[in-house]
């Protein structure tokens, strides 16, 4: 099947080493511009985790869910509550106080993220039982609604002493080193790739292609859909936890529907059904958000000066989504994955064509 396994492994390791070296250089250098670049890369990694988990559900299992923001909120709040140092808790919860049983519970970052993921997964398992019976657009609107319910619950008065209500949480300890972000993201994505390539993953794809045929082949539809939904939500929750640690302060406004749409944009741009596509999409979208920042700032170029003002960037953004959907439906990668063969093929294809014709 694979001709160049050895070469591919070496190239992949080289790429990873080059990336690590770049990070080391950025950290070593401590220049402000590099901090900025690192911060964008970190956010890309976090969004990539969520985008891949959305892709697992939307692209590989064919379940169109729009509940990402809700599951991220669950993960983020859990991680935040568990990791805020106990000695600053009184000042974080200065308005309403904190529940006594919660006051002493403290976990290191990674276990806290896992707990966050598990809570998101637990909610997914519960909500999945009724919701996964629905198809396409009904599922989308039901999960969207569910995310909205979670957001309302987190900000509601009875939860004040746990989630700090509408004041949000702050003083969340950040990542200790930049390798942590990329390490966690890489592990999450690798686990999802392993799942996609397993027999479960093949069952997911069968359900995506034709659920009736899949059922006839002996695949338990509900069990597999539920499994995909729960696992996707787990990683979405972990992604939410990473976002909380990255942002260091969160409130429920962070987890509005717009966040889900942003992730959807990444998945659509990268190609629905391609893991590497989602990663590339995440880099492009998060990078683009910074590269396109000039669109929000006033300019002196005569024609453009009336066009460039705050908000224009988001207009360009949404136009981009529309253009991708209308004219370039497969996105960057389609359902293909990035391979070294494919990359080299990109260069040699032209030669072959001229030679053959």
């Amino acid at each position: 099947m694979k001709k160049h396994t050895g070469r591919d492994l070496v190239l992949s390791l080289l790429l990873a080493a080059a990336f690590a070296a770049l990070l080391y250089y950025f950290q070593y250098d401590k220049a402000a511009s590099h901090n900025y670049a690192v911060s964008i890369l970190e956010r890309s990694a976090i969004y990539a985790v969520v985008a891949v988990s959305m892709n697992l559900l939307n692209g590989f299992t064919g379940l169109f869910s729009l509940g990402q923001a809700g599951f991220m909120a669950l993960g983020a709040y859990t991680t935040a509550i568990l990791t805020i140092p106990t000695h600053v808790r009184q000042s974080v919860y200065y308005m309403n106080g904190i529940e006594p049983w919660l006051e002493k519970i403290h976990l290191p970052m990674v276990p806290a993220m896992i707990v966050g993921g598990l809570i998101a997964a637990g909610f997914a398992a519960l909500i999945g039982i009724p919701v996964l019976r629905l198809k396409s657009d009904y599922l989308a609107i039901a999960t969207l609604g569910f995310a909205e319910i979670i957001r309302a619950l987190l900000a509601s008065r009875p939860m004040d002493r746990i989630t700090n209500g509408s004041y949000g949480l702050n003083n969340i300890p950040g990542f200790k080193s930049i390798y942590q972000v990329f390490g966690i993201a890489a592990v999450c994505i690798a686990l999802m790739v392993l799942l996609i390539n397993s027999s479960y993953g093949r069952a997911f794809k069968a359900i995506r292609e034709d659920d009736v045929a899949a059922e006839a082949m002996g695949i338990n539809l509900f069990r597999h859909k539920e499994l995909s939904f729960v696992i996707s939500s787990f990683f979405t929750g972990v992604g939410g936890g990473m976002l909380a640690v990255y942002m260091r302060s969160i409130d429920t406004k962070t987890f509005q529907v717009a966040l889900t749409y942003n992730i959807l944009l990444i998945v659509v741009l990268g190609g629905i059904g391609s893991v590497t596509g989602s990663i590339i999409g995440s880099l492009l979208i998060n990078g683009g958000q910074e590269w396109l920042r000039f669109l929000d700032e006033p300019t002196t170029v005569p024609v453009l000066s009336s066009l460039f003002k705050p908000g224009f960037r988001m207009v360009v953004y949404s136009l981009l989504l529309m253009i991708v959907v209308l004219f370039w439906r497969s996105g960057i990668m389609g359902t293909k994955e990035f391979t070294w063969d494919g990359l080299f093929g990109l260069f040699s294809r032209k030669k072959k064509k001229t030679g053959g014709a």
Binding site: N58, F64, P130, V131, R133, L134, K135, S136, D137, Y138, A140, I141, A142, L144, G145, F146, E148, I149, A152, L153, A155, S156, R157, V257, A258, Y261, L264, V268, I272, K309, P310, G311, F312, M314, V315, Y317, S318, L319, L321, M322, V325, L326, R329
Partner: protein, 293 residues
Amino acid sequence: MTASVLIQHFLTGISLGGAYALIAVGYTMVYGILRLINFAHGDIFMMSGYFMIFIMATFPWFLSIPVVLAFTVLLGVGIEKVAYAPLRSAPRMSVMISAIGVSYLLQNLATYLFTAIPRAYPEIPILKKIFHFGEITTSLVTILTPVLTIVLVILLMQLINHTKIGMAMRAVSKDTEASRLMGIKVNTTISMTFVLGSLLAGVGSILYFTDRMTVYPYSGSLPGLKCFVAAVLGGIGSIPGAVIGGFIIGICETFLVAMGYSMFSDAFTFLLLIVILLVRPTGLFGEAATDKV
């Protein structure tokens, strides 16, 4: 809660429900014909609010209303032509992503053009006229909304059941391919559906925002989703169902807010959606046996 307070809330609820019903009809018609949740419908409704602000600035209200309605219809049909028509043969997920994209675009465009600060909706003097019935105080718009809703829906039903274009719409929603073979112009029929849906959304927007008094770029998104829930509650594809669903949600929401649960009024709507889809996926008046569940 005394009787007069109860009636007061009930009136507010019916008024809100009327506006919801008008928007829900647009959802149910588009879903009936294209099997698409028109996520942009709520934002068309929001844009219609902005149109009113700018047109009322120069024209008197009786001229502004038809102009606003015309612009709303143009926007609705334009969106159909640009974003949905090219994807007619694409998978449903693509069309839905396109609808989400349009919704996102309209919200961002509104933020860009009009800023995120809420703008005051112009007052139409006649609609704001205050009436007193004993202890109950109400304005004309509160009473007019449900009445107008019902009149418009009866007219719409007549159009759908007794005219040629109405027959075409029913045919296309039953079987697009067969109606194309029968010589029905499918694209014209779909455009007509969007014309009617946007027209009603425009009317709904005037009634809704006259009561709410401000418009901001996201003021269409949540009402839009709620109206979709109303359409599902009534049974998607059924126009009387959408109207009744709209009234139910409007009244429930008003009473939840009155009882001090305003935080949960939005969550309640979605909870309702999940319960309906579980218990009776065809809604109150929906036709049975489609592929929705």
